[in-house]
C-alpha cells in the first residue's frame, strides 16, 4: 500500500466532484427535498376533505348538525360540505370518488330524539382512503358530543339553573353516529398499489426519456439521424410514443402482478381492464412527455442520474400515493395539482379499489391528456434541430 497512490485517487475524485455542479447540487438537494417533502407529506392535519350532507329531517337537531358542520368548514377546515337532496345522488358521487363521506340525517331523527328511540345519524364513508376519512370522523364525533351536550343558556339574575344542567342529567335522547363502510376492508398494500403502478411508469420514463436519451445524445447517436430529413415533431412524437408503449407495458405488468399480490378482486374484469389500459396509456404519455421536456436541452449524462432521486421524491410523495393530499400543507398541495402522478394515482385507486368505471376517472384522463399535449408541444418548440 502506498499513500501517494491513495492520495492520487482522492485528489482525482475530488477534482471531478467539484467540476460536476449537477452532482454536487443533487447530492445536497436530495436530502433536503426529502426532509421537507416527506416531513410534510406524512401525518399532517387533514384539511379540505369534500363530504356530502343529506338532510331528510330538517328538524332542530338537523339544523344544529348543519351549523356544526359549517362551523368546522369555516374554522379548522377539516372538510367542506356539499348538500345533496337525495341520498342516491350522494352515494353515486361517493362511489365515483367526488366525496369522501356522507353525513346522512334520516327523516325521523327529530321524532326519534323526542321519543328517545335510539336516534342515529349515518356516517357513510369511503373506506378506501382511511387516513382522510378518519380525520373527518374525529370531527363528526366532536359534533356528536356537542349535539348531545347540555344546552347552555345565559341565566338571568333571579333565575335558577335548569334542572338538567344542575344535575348533569342528559336532556332528550343522545344522537349516535352510525358509521357505514361502503367497501370491504382495504389493506394498506391495496392502497399502495396505485402508487406502485404509477412509479413503474415513472421509472420507465426516467430511464427511457432521461438516462438513455441523454446517453444516446452524448454518444453521438442523435447526429446520425439529425442529418436526415426527419422533422422535430416526427422525432419527438416517435420518441414519446415509444416511451409511452414501454411505460404501458411496465404499468400493466405491475398492475397484474401487484393486483394478484394485493388480492384485488376480479382484476381480469374486461371493462375494468379496458379503463386501466386507457389510464395507464395516458399516465405513460404524460410522464414520458414530462421527462422529455425536462431533458430536451440537457446534454450532460450526469444530470438525469443526479436528479432521479429528487424528481422521485418531489413527484411521487405529493401525489397522494402514500398519504392523502388532504393532509398536505398548501405548498405541497400546489405541487400535487401540477403533478401527473396525482391524477394517475387518483384514477388507478378509483379503478383498482372501487372499480368506479368512467365516472371516477374521466377528469383524471382529461388532465393527463392535457399535460401530455402541453409537454409535447413545449418539447417540440424547445428541441434543438441543430447541434
Amino acid at each position: 500500500m502506498r499513500f501517494y497512490r491513495i492520495y492520487a485517487i482522492i485528489e482525482r475524485d475530488m477534482k471531478k466532484f467539484f467540476r460536476s455542479p449537477a452532482l454536487m447540487v443533487a447530492s445536497m438537494v436530495l436530502p433536503l427535498v426529502q426532509l421537507v417533502v416527506l416531513g410534510y407529506a406524512f401525518g399532517g392535519q387533514i384539511k379540505n376533505v369534500h363530504i356530502a350532507l343529506v338532510d331528510d329531517d330538517h328538524g332542530a337537531e338537523a339544523r344544529q348538525i348543519r351549523a356544526d358542520l359549517d362551523a368546522v368548514a369555516a374554522g379548522p377546515k377539516t372538510f367542506y360540505v356539499s348538500e345533496y337532496s337525495h341520498l342516491p345522488d350522494a352515494m353515486l358521487d361517493l362511489r365515483a370518488g367526488f366525496v369522501k363521506a356522507i353525513v346522512y340525517i334520516p327523516p325521523d331523527l327529530s321524532q326519534r330524539v323526542l321519543r328517545a328511540d335510539r336516534p342515529r345519524v349515518a356516517f357513510i364513508e369511503d373506506n378506501t382512503d382511511n387516513f382522510a376519512v378518519s380525520g373527518v370522523f374525529e370531527r363528526i364525533q366532536e359534533i356528536q358530543t356537542d349535539l348531545n351536550g347540555p344546552e347552555i343558556a345565559a341565566i338571568q339574575p333571579g333565575e335558577t339553573m335548569p334542572k338538567g344542567l344542575a344535575t348533569g342529567e342528559r336532556l332528550p335522547a343522545a344522537v349516535s353516529i352510525q358509521p357505514v363502510e361502503v367497501y370491504p376492508y382495504i389493506e394498506y398494500i391495496k392502497y399502495l398499489l396505485a402508487g406502485s403502478v404509477s412509479l413503474s411508469i415513472f421509472v420507465v420514463a426516467m430511464i427511457g426519456g432521461g438516462i438513455v436519451f441523454i446517453d444516446d445524445k452524448a454518444r453521438g447517436l442523435h447526429e446520425g439521424y439529425l442529418a436526415t430529413p426527419i422533422g422535430k415533431s416526427d422525432l419527438i412524437l416517435g420518441l414519446i410514443s415509444a416511451g409511452a408503449l414501454k411505460g404501458l407495458m411496465a404499468g400493466l405488468t405491475i398492475t397484474f402482478i401487484g393486483g394478484l399480490l394485493a388480492g384485488i378482486e376480479r382484476i381480469w374484469d374486461p371493462v375494468r381492464l379496458f379503463y386501466l389500459i386507457i389510464v395507464l396509456s395516458c399516465t405513460a404519455l404524460a410522464m414520458i412527455s414530462m421527462m422529455f421536456l425536462l431533458m430536451v436541452r440537457v446534454n450532460d449524462p450526469l444530470v438525469p442520474r443526479a436528479i432521479f432521486g429528487v424528481l422521485n421524491t418531489l413527484l411521487f410523495f405529493p401525489s397522494g400515493a402514500i398519504y392523502p393530499t388532504e393532509g398536505f400543507p398548501k405548498w405541497l398541495r400546489a405541487i400535487s395539482v401540477v403533478d401527473p402522478f396525482t391524477y394517475a394515482v387518483h384514477a388507478l385507486k378509483n379503478l383498482l379499489l372501487k372499480n368506479t368505471g368512467l365516472p371516477g376517472i374521466y377528469s383524471d384522463i382529461g388532465i393527463l391528456l392535457l399535460f401530455s399535449l402541453l409537454f409535447t408541444t413545449l418539447c417540440v418548440a424547445l428541441f434543438q434541430r441543430q447541434l
Binding site: G220, Y225, A227, Q386
Partner: protein, 335 residues
C-alpha cells in the same frame, strides 16, 4: 478517381461561409465550389474548422454568415431538400450498437421513406458493397471500429444520395481498416458517380482519394487545387530535410547560396531546403558542412509531399498539429 477537369456542373457552392462561437471564429468567410462527381478533400489539423464547415453544409449547424448551396438547395432556406439530397457519415460512430447492421439500415431506410418493396434488396446490396453481408444480423456493438465505419458509409447511401459527406472517415482506424475504407470510397465513386466531400488530417489519405484538396487552417482556406498542382506550386520539386549542430549564425544564409536551392526554412530545428536537384544538393551540403565544421545528424531527400504543401501555405507542419491538445476542436464548448 474521376478527373476534375472533365466535370463542370457544381454540386456544392460555398460563399463566404462563417461560423462564430462567441468571440471564437471557427470558420472565417470560406468560399469554394465542389464539382459534380469529384472527390473533394478538406485537409487541415484538428480545430481548423473542417467539422464545423461540414456540419454547416449538412444542415447540422446554422452558419453565422455567408451562404451555401448543396445539390442546388440553400442550406438555410431549404434544409429539408438538402437533407434529402445528401448522405452524411459524421466523425462520431452514430450507428446504434443495440441494433444489428440490418436493423440500423432499415431504420434509416424508413426515415428516408425508401419504398418498402425495395428496402430488403437495397440493404442487402449495400451491405455487400461494404463487405458486411455476413454480419448483417450481428449486433453492431460486436463490430470493430472499421466495420462500424463501413456500415455507416452503407447507411449513408440507403436513400441513393447524390452527394456524400464523410467527416474524417478513417480517424481511429487501424491501417488495414483505413485501406478498406479507401478502397470502398474508390468503388463508390466508380460505381455510383457520387460527389464526395471528405475531411481529413491525413496527407496520404487526401493524396490518394481526392481529385481536389482545400487546405483549411484557422478557419480559413489557405489553398485549393488538385494534389499535383498543389505540390507543383511549392518551390522546388524535391525537399532536402536535415538536422545540424554547431552551426554558425549565418548558416541558413550559407545554405541559400548553395546551387539549385530555391527556398530554406527552419522548422523547429529541422531545416527544409527546396531544390530542383535533391541528390546534387546533398553533396554540396556535406561539403560546406565539412568546411564550416558543422555536424550533420540527418539528411533525407524526398519529393514534394502535401506536408510540404501545408508547410508552404500555412508556415506550419500538419503533423505537428495532429493530436495537439492546443488545437482541439473546442466548438462544442460554445453550444
Amino acid at each position: 478517381m474521376a478527373s476534375a477537369e472533365n466535370t463542370t456542373n457544381t454540386a456544392i457552392e460555398v460563399d463566404k461561409l462563417t461560423k462564430r462561437f462567441g468571440d471564437f471564429v471557427a470558420v472565417d468567410g470560406v468560399s469554394f465550389d465542389v464539382h459534380d462527381g469529384e472527390v473533394f478533400g478538406l485537409l487541415g489539423p484538428n480545430g481548423a474548422g473542417k467539422t464545423t464547415l461540414i456540419r454547416m453544409l449538412t444542415t447540422l449547424t446554422l452558419p453565422s454568415g455567408g451562404t451555401a448551396k448543396v445539390g442546388g438547395h440553400d442550406i438555410i432556406k431549404d434544409a429539408t431538400a438538402v437533407r434529402n439530397t445528401i448522405g452524411v457519415i459524421p466523425q462520431a460512430l452514430t450507428s446504434d450498437p443495440e441494433l444489428t447492421a440490418r436493423e440500423n439500415m432499415l431504420f434509416h431506410a424508413k426515415i428516408y421513406g425508401v419504398d418498402s418493396h425495395e428496402r430488403d434488396a437495397l440493404i442487402n446490396r449495400l451491405l455487400a458493397l461494404v463487405d458486411l453481408e455476413k454480419f448483417a444480423d450481428v449486433l453492431v456493438r460486436n463490430f470493430s471500429g472499421g466495420m462500424r465505419r463501413r456500415l455507416e458509409i452503407a447507411r449513408g447511401l440507403v436513400h441513393s444520395p447524390k452527394i456524400l459527406f464523410l467527416d474524417e472517415p478513417t480517424t481511429g482506424l487501424d491501417p488495414v481498416s483505413r485501406t478498406n475504407v479507401w478502397e470502398m470510397i474508390h468503388r463508390l465513386q466508380d460505381e455510383h458517380h457520387l460527389t464526395i466531400l471528405l475531411t481529413t488530417h491525413y496527407m496520404d489519405e487526401a493524396d490518394r482519394l481526392c481529385d481536389r484538396i482545400a487546405i483549411v487552417d484557422h478557419g480559413k482556406l489557405a489553398a485549393l487545387d488538385t494534389p499535383t498542382r498543389l505540390k507543383d506550386s511549392v518551390p522546388g520539386t524535391e525537399v532536402v530535410e536535415a538536422e545540424f549542430s554547431n552551426a554558425p549564425a549565418d548558416w541558413l544564409e550559407q545554405l541559400k547560396r548553395l546551387p539549385a536551392v530555391i527556398e530554406v526554412k527552419d522548422q523547429n530545428g529541422v531545416v527544409h531546403i527546396s531544390s530542383h536537384d535533391g541528390p546534387g544538393l546533398v553533396g554540396a551540403l556535406m561539403d560546406v558542412a565539412r568546411q564550416q565544421k558543422v555536424t550533420v545528424h540527418r539528411v533525407t531527400v524526398q519529393g514534394t509531399t502535401l506536408d510540404d504543401v501545408f508547410l508552404h501555405y500555412t508556415g506550419r507542419q500538419l503533423r505537428d498539429e495532429v493530436g495537439s491538445g492546443a488545437k482541439l476542436d473546442i466548438s462544442h464548448l460554445y453550444k
